[in-house]
Assembly symmetry: C2
Homo-oligomer: 232 residues x 2
Amino acid sequence: MSRQPKAVILVSGGMDSCVTAAMARQTHEIALLHASYGQRTERRERRAFDEIADFYSVSERLAVQLDHFVKIGGSALTDMRIAVPEGEAGTPISCNEIPSTYVPFRNAHFLAVAVSWAEVIGASAVFIGAVAEDSSGYPDCRPEYYRVFQQLVREGTRPETRIEIVTPVIAMRKREIVQRGVELGAPLDRTWSCYQFEDEACGACDSCRLRLSAFADAGITDPIAYRARVER
Amino acid sequence: MSRQPKAVILVSGGMDSCVTAAMARQTHEIALLHASYGQRTERRERRAFDEIADFYSVSERLAVQLDHFVKIGGSALTDMRIAVPEGEAGTPISCNEIPSTYVPFRNAHFLAVAVSWAEVIGASAVFIGAVAEDSSGYPDCRPEYYRVFQQLVREGTRPETRIEIVTPVIAMRKREIVQRGVELGAPLDRTWSCYQFEDEACGACDSCRLRLSAFADAGITDPIAYRARVER
């Protein structure tokens, strides 16, 4: 019987959240939470979530479906009429503007589910694998956002509830996240990052490009399959 | 063609949110949002929402279904194994503890949907009919909670997005809300407050008791039907 405190980990199925789970389980008994929101690759990401949860033999898991994002739209990830932007592999991602893959205020929904669940199951922490600097430029991936969310949790839950919002990879370079994952034996081969496809990763969307750069910079071969193995 | 700024109003179907909508439309073009979450009376509340939206001829409306609350549980409203507490009509509601009808961190989910939708449709405000003092003692109904949520919106949306969180009835007594509703000609007869039943209101749950007290204190007859018209 584990005596570690319990934590809810938001696991999208991508690399950052997988490594976040690997880090969290060093100090916590982990409960894994996945949220689908009508994004293009939701079935593939859900499969990655299940495989990561199986890898860690996690019994407490919750998968939720947030269908309203498709009704709301406004993002290339949930509105099939907006194309996912592609770039040449190896070229840097611009961080100067919010990309069309930004899903309006998305992480507030994910965190709200995580905090509600954490309060009910008695978890004392919620881990989320947001990455600030070395990422896509989403406003809800910055440290200040999580500091404010922490205040919101304090104000909006039962007086006796204590839930810490933990962002262990937020200040890490993507390369470091890969390295940490490898050190911890995280199942990176089971993760999925591509915004576009569900069979083989495209290698061209921002998410694939960030991932490929991260592995290349870390000097490690990405274990997942790409549609066309990109020259780097 | 309206030149008023647009606002999203969270309309549960209850009295407070109906009066909030009535107040909001004095200054804004209103878009109405309803969230069902597997609560006992969700069909009846949805009907009240539709009838209020029809009353105000609102074309922009969104109804979302947040099914995960039932999976998460932990509340008498979403877990049918937990009884809704009843009290004698006319007796005061205790505000010293969080009632079993508290749905963990619920309003964060509602506000998240409202802000995402507001950002996509270009609304500059989100109105919510939370009532602090004279209500059921939920932590996410207090002014400080909304001040923090306002900061979260600033941090977590596009840099150019400006969405104000407005809580026009938060400091009002329930009696005053009834009076304001009547002054503004709000369709209080189309609202639904009962936590338990969908045909006629029970008159005994906290929500019915608060409502009945409010109408009694205002010296106005509640236009909706109760299972047993309660002596007061």
